[in-house]
């Protein structure tokens, strides 16, 4: 706008338009902010909008206050049996029956795990939380060490603590081949015969690996194959020693486990086992070897095509028939095998998505610097691909966590199963017990799943940002 009060130059006829009059300042434009306009835009834009808003408010009105009334205001907080939760005895409307939950809480968290041994479960819970939290927070250091501790060491420690260890191992490779070491005695729950077998087998296997690789790939290959075999067997020896030694902890059979313990054991084992198998399957599915590729495709699509419950039935009723008769497998272990097969197939598809997202140039670059295909995968492709699919893995875990409820159909009592068992207690039968139980279990499932899904979304956002640079 020009300053019209200043002396102006003479107006020539060629000038198309110059304003000579003073223009009144226009009123400020209608505010595009403020509560009334916001309400008009977001709530009362048109007649259907008004109706929708009113309907929504009515819906909130008929659901939320009764829920609050039921779970908090009318709720009973203390008591020792069903009498505390009966409206006739209290003389007022009764909401949630919380004493029922307090009474059953131990059963919901530990199942029938012996009371004197429950500290072991607590240690496992806390140790898991302590190792997992720093793994989830991106800014903390020592990720690699932390991951090894959580995925490698923690399962062994948890296994020994929960079951009591002392597996009483008898035979290793040579033992199965018919060489008998069982006459040699033992101490501390260890059979010396087994360990003699182990050492001899290790020597033998290393020698075989060395021999074959040397013959096929020369001295260099022979040495590296021998090293790989030795280190794998060395790690295995540490693990076996840990589960074989008599720690002095009383054994607790898995049929005594229950509640949240079983839910977490199945979910965590499923995801931990499925990760390596899923990676192998995903690599196999993209392999150039036709036989390997098709086997992987069939395996993955088969398990993805059937419901988890049939897989659990397969593992519970059919698998034992396929194994030599002298094996008797623990019920929980059977379910774990089923879950692991199922989860591996799903994990393979997640990992495959990550592998496909890695540009071809990365493969070519790795080959150009002379990496063999194994090293190329380990050093270049997988680290990038796995980072990309972390949100997918978390989503998989959420699915698995929800799916653990299915084990109650094969008579393993997870959180939901323990809750259902608790409902049958006549001591606590009251009209509100069911709603209280479902409310409590629902809150636990929701907190776990919702928390993980938010974490996965935040992760996705951050990865997105990182990708854009």
């Amino acid at each position: 706008m020009t300053d019209i009060s200043a002396p102006r130059p003479s107006i020539t006829p060629a000038t198309p338009f110059v304003s000579t009059a003073f223009h009144e300042p226009q009123p400020a434009p209608v505010s595009t902010r403020g509560p009334i306009l916001w309400a008009r835009q977001h709530l009362f834009g048109s007649v259907p909008q008004v109706l929708l808003t009113l309907f929504g408010i009515w819906l909130v009105y008929v659901t939320v206050p009764p829920l609050i009334k039921f779970f908090l205001i009318d709720a009973v907080w203390t008591g020792t049996n069903r009498d505390a939760c009966l409206a006739e005895k209290l003389g007022r409307p009764v909401g949630a029956c919380w004493p029922f939950i307090w009474a059953k809480l131990d059963q919901l968290i530990y199942g029938f795990y012996p009371a004197s041994e429950r500290w072991r479960v607590n240690v496992v819970y806390w140790l898991g939380a302590l190792l997992l939290l720093p793994l989830l927070i991106q800014s903390l250091p020592y990720k690699r060490l932390n991951a090894i501790a959580f995925f490698g060491v923690y399962p062994v420690v948890a296994f020994v603590l929960l079951t009591g260890g002392n597996l009483d191992l008898q035979r290793f490779v040579l033992g199965w081949l018919g060489v008998d070491f069982s006459t040699i005695g033992g101490a501390q729950g260890l059979r010396i015969g087994f360990w003699v077998d182990y050492v001899l087998s290790t020597v033998l296997l290393t020698a075989i690996a060395f021999g074959i690789s040397r013959f096929l790939a020369g001295p260099e290959g022979g040495r590296s194959a021998a090293q790989t075999t030795l280190s794998v067997l060395g790690v295995l020896a540490v693990v076996l020693l840990a589960v074989d030694i008599d720690t002095g902890l009383p054994q607790v059979e898995t049929r005594l486990w229950g509640g949240l313990l079983v839910t977490l054991v199945i979910a965590v084992t499923g995801i931990t086992v499925s990760l390596p198998f899923g990676i192998l399957l995903a690599l196999g599915r993209r392999s150039k070897l036709q036989l390997v590729k098709w086997l992987c495709i069939i395996f993955i699509e088969f398990w993805r095509g059937v419901p988890l419950i049939t897989v659990l039935f397969f593992a519970t009723y059919m698998l034992p028939l396929f194994l030599p008769g002298r094996f008797t497998i623990d019920g929980l272990l059977r379910a774990l095998v089923g879950v692991a097969l199922f989860a591996s197939a799903y994990m393979a598809e997640v990992v495959r998505g990550g592998l496909q997202a890695i540009p071809k140039g990365q493969y070519e670059g790795a080959m150009a610097v002379g990496l063999r295909s194994g090293l190329m995968m380990r050093l270049v492709v997988l680290p990038q691909a796995l980072k990309l699919v972390i949100p997918g893995i978390v989503n998989n875990f959420i699915g698995l966590f929800k799916d653990t409820t299915l084990v109650l159909i094969v008579s393993i009592f997870d959180l939901l199963g323990s809750m259902r068992a608790a409902f049958t207690d006549p001591n606590w039968a009251s009209p509100t017990t069911l709603f209280t139980g479902f409310g409590f279990a629902g809150i636990i499932y929701f907190v776990f799943c919702f928390g993980m899904s938010r974490y996965s979304m935040a992760l996705e956002k951050r990865l997105d940002r990182a990708q854009r640079h």
Partner: protein
Amino acid sequence: MSEVSPAAPPRPKGRRWSWTDPKLRSQVIQITVAVILVWLLWSFYSNAQSNLTRLGIASGFGFLDNRAGFAISQSLVPYNESMSYGRAFLVGLLNTLLVAFLGVILATLIGFLMGVARLSKNVVIKALASAYVEITRNLPPLFQIMFWYLAVLATLPGPRQSWGFGLQPLLGAIGSGLSSIGLGFLGGPLSAYAASLAAPGVFVNNRGLVVPRPIFEDGSMAILYALIAAFILSFLLARWAKKRREATGHFFPVFWTSLGLIIVLPLLASAAMGFPVGVEKPELRGFNFVGGLRVIPEFVSLLLALSIYTGGFIAEIVRSGILAVSKGQTEAAHSLGLRNGPTLRLVIIPQAMRVIVPPLTSQYLNLTKNSSLGVAVGYPDLFAVFAGTTLNQTGQAIEIIAIIMAVYLTISIVTSAIMGWYNKRVALVER
């Protein structure tokens, strides 16, 4: 990696073959894998053989002809205890397909509704839809099935205090409501009028949902034929309208015409045959209802839980599909002069469908597979009938689990094939 194929290095002189030769290496690996596989299968087979003889379990599929001897609470085809396991299998399969089919339809409706609601400008509706999606997706499906079955349906009143649905109870309720707030002069006559009406035909109680049963008399087939004819005509009409639109640019209201055809033709046929379809209303006699159709609560709870659970996932798929269509498409359609409705129908949804269809397929499959969870509440689907009762009675785990797995695999493959065909049709044609 099919895309990376390092050229084979020249073989070292003096040796006939080398481990670094990719061709040889791949053959060695594949032969090893094949040998291990064969050994594994053989040991499974021989173990199974010896275990079965040891446990005295029969093998083979001969048991399918044996007498089943158990009752099934819901069956779409005639069935009784004296029929064979094969017949029980059919009953279970049909029950699975029924709940999956209805569940897919309901879940799609819920999902699209909630997905669109989550994109609404109206904050109340948006918040409610978000709450629905978050709650249903984060609770295990089995939890939801058991919640509906144990906590909701089982606590409904018994048959004698059933909730009736129809004009009579509705007017009666309004009448007594009016009387209770001091408008007796209005409420009284209304209640009296309601009492004079016929009893309702739909009841809900803790033994399920009772609805009138249609009775088809002679000539009912004409209505079915008319319905089929209406569908064929609608299909032809849609094709003709599309051709004409592409040639001339003129629209033809296909949807409304088809809807009219589908309603009017069967009605006409029915009138021509003298209204051959009667209704048998359920009646309360003693402690339960006689007549009518009873939908068992197991079915209702399974259907509700599955469609509500899967609906939450479909809502998210629909939302992301619509968001994936760029805003420029809407603006372009508006600038061409299309109004909001046609913009959504002709521009946004066809493009969103491309994003929506693949994940939607896997949700349909999930729903079908999750229908096997009905076993937890006793819905007689394929899994409950076969892996439950039949497995208990015969002990033939291998055959029964193999049959069940084969059925679910077939359903999966057929569904993916159909949706794949559809997806190909709506997919972007790239040149």
